[in-house]
C-alpha cells in the first residue's frame, strides 16, 4: 500500500520543532507571563506611588552594572557550550558549562553583596514599596539563576555518562532557559535599578 500524499515524513515531529525544545519554549511562555505579572504589578504600583526613591542614589549601580556584565558573559559561555555540544567537542562543552556555572555563582554572590549593602542602609522587604518590589523581583530572579545553576551542574555531571550522546539537545534546551533568565535580568536592571 502506498502512503497517501498527505502523510508527512513520520520521523519528524509534526511541527518540525524538536519536542524537547518546544516544551522548553512553552515553559518559557509561562515564565514570561509570571515575570510579566510581577514586573507589570511593580510598574503600575510605582506609577501610582506618590514618591519613589532615586535608584541611582539608593543602589550601588556600579556593582549592579558589573553584575550585569557577569550574567551577559555567562550567556556567551552558554552559547559556546551549545556550539561545542553540536561539534561533539566534549572538552569544550564541559569547559564552557563550568564557566557558565561559575559566572552564575558569581552573579549570586554579588547579589548577596548588594543585599547586604541595602540591609545596611535600612532598606528591607517590609520597609517600603521600593524595598518590597526590589527584593521580590530580584529574589525571584535569583531563585531562577539558582535553578539554572543546578540544572547546568546536573548536565555537567551527566555529560560523563555514555547516555549523554543521545541527549545532547538537552544542552541547547538548558541554554534557552539560561538565556531567558539573562533577558529577565536585562529588563530588571533597567526597570528596577536604573529608572
Amino acid at each position: 500500500m502506498t502512503a497517501p500524499a498527505d502523510v508527512r515524513e513520520a520521523n519528524l515531529p509534526a511541527t518540525g520543532i524538536p519536542t524537547g525544545k518546544l516544551g522548553v519554549w512553552l515553559f518559557l511562555v509561562s515564565e514570561v507571563m509570571f515575570f510579566g505579572a510581577l514586573v507589570g504589578s511593580y510598574l503600575l504600583l510605582r506609577m501610582g506611588a506618590r514618591s519613589w526613591p532615586d535608584p541611582a542614589r539608593t543602589l550601588d549601580t556600579a556593582l549592579l552594572g558589573a553584575n550585569t556584565f557577569v550574567l551577559i558573559t555567562s550567556s556567551v559561555t552558554m552559547v559556546l557550550a551549545v556550539r561545542a555540544a553540536e561539534r561533539n567537542d566534549l572538552r569544550g562543552l564541559r569547559r564552557n558549562l563550568l564557566l557558565t556555572i561559575l559566572l552564575g555563582t558569581t552573579f549570586l554572590a554579588l547579589k548577596g553583596l548588594d543585599y547586604a549593602h541595602l540591609f545596611g542602609a535600612g532598606i528591607t522587604i517590609d520597609a517600603s514599596l521600593f524595598g518590597a518590589s526590589y527584593f521580590t523581583l530580584t529574589g525571584f530572579h535569583g531563585l531562577h539563576v539558582l535553578a539554572g545553576i543546578v540544572a547546568l551542574a546536573s548536565l555537567l555531571a551527566f555529560s560523563r555518562r555514555p547516555a549523554f550522546a543521545r541527549r545532547r539537545e538537552w544542552i541547547e534546551n538548558a541554554g534557552l532557559y539560561w538565556h531567558f533568565v539573562d533577558v529577565v535580568w536585562i529588563l530588571l536592571f533597567v526597570l528596577l535599578c536604573l529608572l
Partner: protein, 582 residues
C-alpha cells in the same frame, strides 16, 4: 509505511511501561492511562467532598443558625451550630476545591490525559515523567488543602477569589489556614500548568502521520485551547497569590492600603485585576473541554458529521483570544474608569458571538440526525440545555447597568453554576460514560446511568433555578443569614426548596457512585468500539495495551465520518481507514 510508522516514536515500545514492574512503578506510573485514572479518582473524591460542603451551605441558608443534623456536633461546636465563620469557610473551600481539585482533575487531568494521546495517535504524552510529576503535584496540593482544615482557627475564609485586604491582613482572616490555602492552590495551579505544557507539546508534535490539524477531533482541539489558556493565565494568578502570601508572611504591602498597611503605595484593586485576568479565562478553561467533548459526542450519537467543524474550531480559538481581555466584567462593582468599563462590556458581549456559533453547530449536528439516546448522549443533551440557560444569563451580567444590581446576588451564583456546575458536571459525566469502557474495559450500566441523568437534570435545575429567583429579588451572596433582613424573609421557602433539592441531588449522586464502582468491578466486558465511533482511541482494544497502538496508525480521514458506508457494513468510516470509493 511500516518503516515510517515505527520511526515515529523510537523509544515508546521499550521498557517504560513494562507490566512486570512492581507496586512502585504502578503507583508512580508514567503511563498516561494510569495517570488519567489517578486524576479521575482524585477528582471524584474532591467532587463528593466539595459537594458535601455545598450541602452544609444549603442547610445553613435553609435553616439559618439551627443545629446541623447528624454531623453538626462533629464538625462545628458542641451544640452542633454552625458559626458565621464556618459558613464563610464552607463557601470558600466549596468553590476552590470544586474549581481546582474536582473539575480540573476530572475534565482536564483525567479525560485529557487518557484521551489526548489516543486521539492524536501517540503512544504516550510528550513528556511522560513530567506528566507523573503533574499528578503528584496536585496530590500534594490536596494534602495541603486537607491540612488547612486542621490549622488553628480553621481553613481559609476569604472566598475562592482571595481578595485582599481580607486575605492578606493576618489580623482579619485566620492565620495559618489561609496561608496553607494559598500554597495548596499554587500547587494545584503548578500541576495544571505542567499538564498544559505536556498537552500542547503532545497535540502539536506527536500527531500520527496524516493527523493534520483539520482532522483533529474536537475533544483534542478543546484540550489544545484549554491548555493555551492554562499556560498563559495560571502564572498570572500564581504571581498574584505569591504577592498576597508575601503580604501575609514577609511584611510587604503590595495589596494593602490605608491605616493597616505597613507602608503606603499598595493597591487592593490591583489584585482584583490580576486575579480576574486569570479568573475569567479560568471559566473557559473549565468549559472548553465540555464544548469539545460535546462536539464529538453529538456527532457520534446522531450518526452525522459534526456540523460546522471548522467554524467550531475557529469559534473556540476566538473565545480563547478574547477571553484574556474581558476580565473587567467581574469588577463592575469594584469601580474602574468609565472608558475601560465600556470596553469590557463590548468585549464581553463579543464573546457571545463565537459561543452562539458553537451552540448553533450543536443544534445543526442534531438536526435530522439518527439520534441514539445512550447515556453519554443523554448527558450531552443535558449540557445543551443547561449551557443555554447559563450562557444567556451571562449576557445579562455583561451589561454594566444590570450587573451593578445583580452582581453580588444569587443571580450571578445561579448563572455561573449553570455554566460551571451544571454544564461542566453533565459534560464530565458524559465524558466518563463515553470513555469508561475504553478506560476500564467494562461497560457501565446504561439504565442506572440514564436514571442518574434524569434525576440529576431535574434536581440541578431545581437548585439553580431557585437561585435565579432569589437573586433577582436581591438576595446577597456570601451572607450566612440573609433572612435576618426583612425584605428577604418572603424568599425563605425558595431557600428551603433549594436546600432539599440539593440534598436530593447529593443522594442521586450515590447512584452514579454505585454504578461506577459496580461497573468497574463487575461490569460487562466492553468491545473495542461500543459506540461505533470513528476516532483513533476506538481502533485499539478496551482497555488499550500499555503502548496504546500496536503500530502507529496512519490517519486517512476526518474525525466525524458518520452516516456513510464504511468497510464491513459499518455506517461510518474510522479515521485510520480510507473511505470506500464512491
Amino acid at each position: 509505511m511500516s518503516g515510517a510508522s515505527s520511526r515515529l516514536s523510537p523509544e515508546a515500545p521499550a521498557a517504560p511501561h513494562a507490566p512486570a514492574a512492581g507496586l512502585w512503578r504502578r503507583v508512580f506510573s508514567t503511563d498516561h492511562k494510569v495517570i488519567g485514572k489517578q486524576y479521575l479518582f482524585t477528582g471524584i473524591f474532591f467532587l463528593f467532598f466539595a459537594g458535601l460542603l455545598a450541602l452544609l451551605i444549603r442547610w445553613q441558608l435553609a435553616y439559618p443558625f439551627e443545629p446541623v443534623p447528624l454531623v453538626g456536633r462533629l464538625l462545628f461546636r458542641r451544640d452542633g451550630f454552625m458559626g458565621g465563620e464556618h459558613y464563610t469557610q464552607l463557601f470558600t473551600l466549596h468553590g476552590s476545591l470544586m474549581v481546582f481539585f474536582a473539575v480540573t482533575p476530572i475534565l482536564i487531568g483525567a479525560i485529557g490525559n487518557f484521551v489526548i494521546p489516543l486521539q492524536v495517535g501517540a503512544r504516550d504524552m510528550a513528556f511522560p515523567r513530567l506528566n507523573m510529576i503533574s499528578y503528584w503535584t496536585i496530590f500534594a496540593g490536596g494534602l495541603v488543602m486537607a491540612a488547612s482544615f486542621l490549622a488553628p482557627g480553621g481553613t481559609a475564609s476569604a472566598g475562592w477569589t482571595n481578595y485582599p485586604p481580607l486575605a492578606s491582613d493576618p489580623g482579619m482572616t485566620l492565620g495559618l489556614g489561609q496561608t496553607l490555602w494559598i500554597l495548596g492552590i499554587v500547587l494545584a495551579g503548578t500541576s495544571t500548568l505542567l499538564g498544559a505544557i505536556n498537552y500542547l507539546a503532545t497535540i502539536l508534535n506527536l500527531r500520527a502521520p496524516g493527523m493534520t490539524l483539520a482532522r483533529l477531533p474536537l475533544t483534542a482541539w478543546s484540550f489544545f485551547f484549554t491548555s493555551v489558556l492554562n499556560l498563559f493565565w495560571i502564572p498570572v494568578v500564581a504571581a498574584a497569590l505569591i504577592l498576597v502570601l508575601l503580604d501575609r508572611v514577609a511584611g510587604t504591602s503590595f495589596f494593602l492600603a490605608g491605616a493597616r498597611a505597613p507602608f503606603e503605595g499598595g493597591q487592593p484593586l490591583l489584585y482584583q485585576h490580576l486575579f480576574w485576568g486569570f479568573g475569567h479565562p479560568e471559566v473557559y478553561i473549565l468549559i472548553l473541554p465540555v464544548w469539545g467533548i460535546l462536539g464529538d459526542l453529538l456527532s457520534v450519537f446522531s450518526r452525522k458529521p459534526a456540523f460546522g467543524y471548522r467554524t467550531s474550531v475557529v469559534a473556540m480559538g476566538a473565545i480563547v483570544a478574547v477571553s484574556g481581555i474581558v476580565w473587567g466584567h467581574h469588577m463592575f462593582t469594584s469601580g474602574m474608569s468609565p472608558l475601560l468599563g465600556k470596553a469590557f462590556v463590548f468585549l464581553t458581549l463579543a464573546v457571545s458571538v463565537p459561543t452562539a456559533v458553537l451552540f448553533l453547530n450543536w443544534l445543526g449536528t442534531l438536526w435530522r440526525g439518527a439520534i441514539r439516546l445512550a447515556p453519554p448522549m443523554a448527558y450531552a443533551l443535558g449540557v445543551v440545555f443547561v449551557f443555554a440557560v447559563g450562557g444567556l444569563t451571562g449576557v445579562f451580567n455583561a451589561l454594566r447597568a444590570f450587573d451593578v444590581y445583580i452582581h453580588d446576588t444569587y443571580f450571578v451564583v445561579a448563572h455561573f453554576h449553570y455554566t460551571l456546575a451544571a454544564s461542566v458536571f453533565f459534560g464530565s459525566f458524559a465524558a466518563i460514560a463515553y470513555w469508561f469502557p475504553k478506560m476500564f474495559g467494562r461497560e457501565m450500566d446504561r439504565r442506572l446511568a440514564l436514571a442518574h441523568f434524569v434525576l440529576s437534570f431535574l434536581l440541578i435545575n431545581a437548585v439553580f433555578f431557585a437561585m435565579f429567583r432569589m437573586g433577582l429579588a436581591g438576595m446577597p451572596r456570601r451572607t450566612a443569614d440573609p433572612f435576618a433582613y426583612d425584605y428577604l424573609k418572603p424568599l425563605r421557602p425558595w431557600s428551603v426548596f433549594a436546600g432539599w433539592s440539593t440534598a436530593a441531588l447529593g443522594a442521586v449522586q450515590l447512584l452514579f457512585a454505585w454504578n461506577f464502582v459496580r461497573s468497574l468491578l463487575a461490569g460487562r466486558r466492553a468491545p473495542a468500539n461500543p459506540w461505533g465511533a470513528a476516532t483513533l482511541e476506538w481502533s485499539v482494544p478496551s482497555p488499550p495495551p500499555p503502548h496504546d497502538f500496536e503500530r502507529i496508525p496512519i490517519v486517512r480521514g476526518g474525525p466525524h465520518e458518520y452516516g456513510r458506508p464504511g468497510g464491513g457494513g459499518l455506517d461510518f468510516v474510522p479515521q485510520h481507514e480510507a473511505a470506500a470509493a464512491p
